[in-house]
């Protein structure tokens, strides 16, 4: 088809468009990422949170290389507009995720904003942050009948194995 038509139809295009243009998009994501590194839990629109998620995880991958690495330092100083967060990234966040390979962030959807725009909101956070959990943790009730029977079974089994050996 004609090249001009190709620009108007976006079938199969995965890259999102945000703000005024590619530079604006990168600036928006940079600001959100800086806020995320500072506060470790932020609330934005779903689309922005989804975009920032990728960059947040890649930034951690670069930070894992260490602050002696030139490329890592350049990336960190570009993406973090507040320069006092660069040591925090390398000294706090990178060691926290040393054992993990991927999945440093968590995104949870929220009810829509109450403003006129009714925008879909989401919470984006780095795992291991000091705040209470976003979704309530389901604690198993130990006092139900089945759990009491299972507890007794497990105790008997461990006694039996200890006696056998």
């Amino acid at each position: 088809m004609r090249l001009a038509l190709q620009l108007l139809i976006s079938h199969g295009r995965v890259a999102r468009r945000m703000g005024l243009g590619p530079e604006s998009r990168i600036n928006i994501l940079r600001n959100i990422l800086t806020g995320l590194v500072r506060h470790e839990r932020i609330e934005t629109t779903t689309a922005r949170a989804d975009e920032v998620r990728f960059y947040a995880e890649k930034l951690i991958d670069y930070a894992k290389r260490g602050d002696t690495d030139e490329k890592a330092m350049k990336m960190a100083s570009f993406w973090l507009t507040e320069k006092d967060l660069v040591p925090k990234l390398f000294k706090v966040l990178a060691p926290r995720f040393e054992t993990q390979q991927k999945g440093y962030t968590r995104m949870v959807r929220l009810p829509a904003r109450l403003n006129l725009d009714r925008a879909k909101m989401a919470v984006l956070e780095y795992k291991g942050n000091p705040f209470p959990h976003l979704s309530p943790i389901r604690k198993e009730n130990e006092l139900t009948l089945i759990n009491q029977l299972l507890k007794a079974y497990r105790e008997e089994r461990s006694q039996f194995l200890a006696a056998k050996s």
Partner: protein, 285 residues
Amino acid sequence: MAACMKRLDRAMLSIRLLRNIQLHNERSLSTSLHRLALDGEQPSKFTPPVKPVIIDKTQSVASLRKFLSPEFVPPRQRTNPAKFSMERRDMVRRRKVLHIPEFYVGSILAVTMTDPHSAGKNNRFVGICIQRGGRGLGATFVLRNIIDNQGVEICYEMYSPRVQQIEVLKLEKRLDDNLMYLRDALPEYCTVDPDMKPHPFSTTGEVPVNKIKVKMLPKPWSKRWERPKFDVKGIRFDLCLSPEQMEHAQKWAQPWLEYDMLKEYDTSKLEEDIYTEIQQEAATK
């Protein structure tokens, strides 16, 4: 005066004698040969001595340059990797029949292709490689040469069955991956002698990089090569553009692009896997 003349005369005489002796010897030699030949059957054809084949055993296989042709590495996409592995198998099968040498953009190649309309059924084209495109079996390379003051570019498909022979006459790299700007450069940079002899090159060590900076024809060009999106390093901009024009071109620069992690695609591990796969395929059968 008279003395040197006498000496000259004696020298001339001795030379003439020697020459006569030589001629006499030759004549005698030739007649003897003729006699020998007449004794036997027909005169045997002159077979030149066998050229000694020098096998360089000082360098081991490990020191040979590891080269993976770029058309083996697929770009980032959502298709099933089985498609690429099947394609690679077909590419290795074709490479077993036709030797496709290692070459880069900027090397000088000679390609012979079958041509039903030419007298010898083959035609040969020599040119400088300006672009390597395509992935998989559809991989192409464009050769450029100037013949009779006319620029000629031919795009060859590497795995086409019409291609008979690909010869590398000069192996070298250039400062850029894409030399399309040679279309707007002075013709001297694209003229390649069709009867060029192949330059010897080593299979180990680094490929020589030709750091030449090309002089351009006056503007307008086919593309605005000074713009940062092309990232051309091999043009002498100081001769054809003013500093104001260079600054104006920098308005199209996108400095955030080098920090955009979404655009990065690290192929090193993929390349290693593909290299081992191809070596195994080539070793079988």
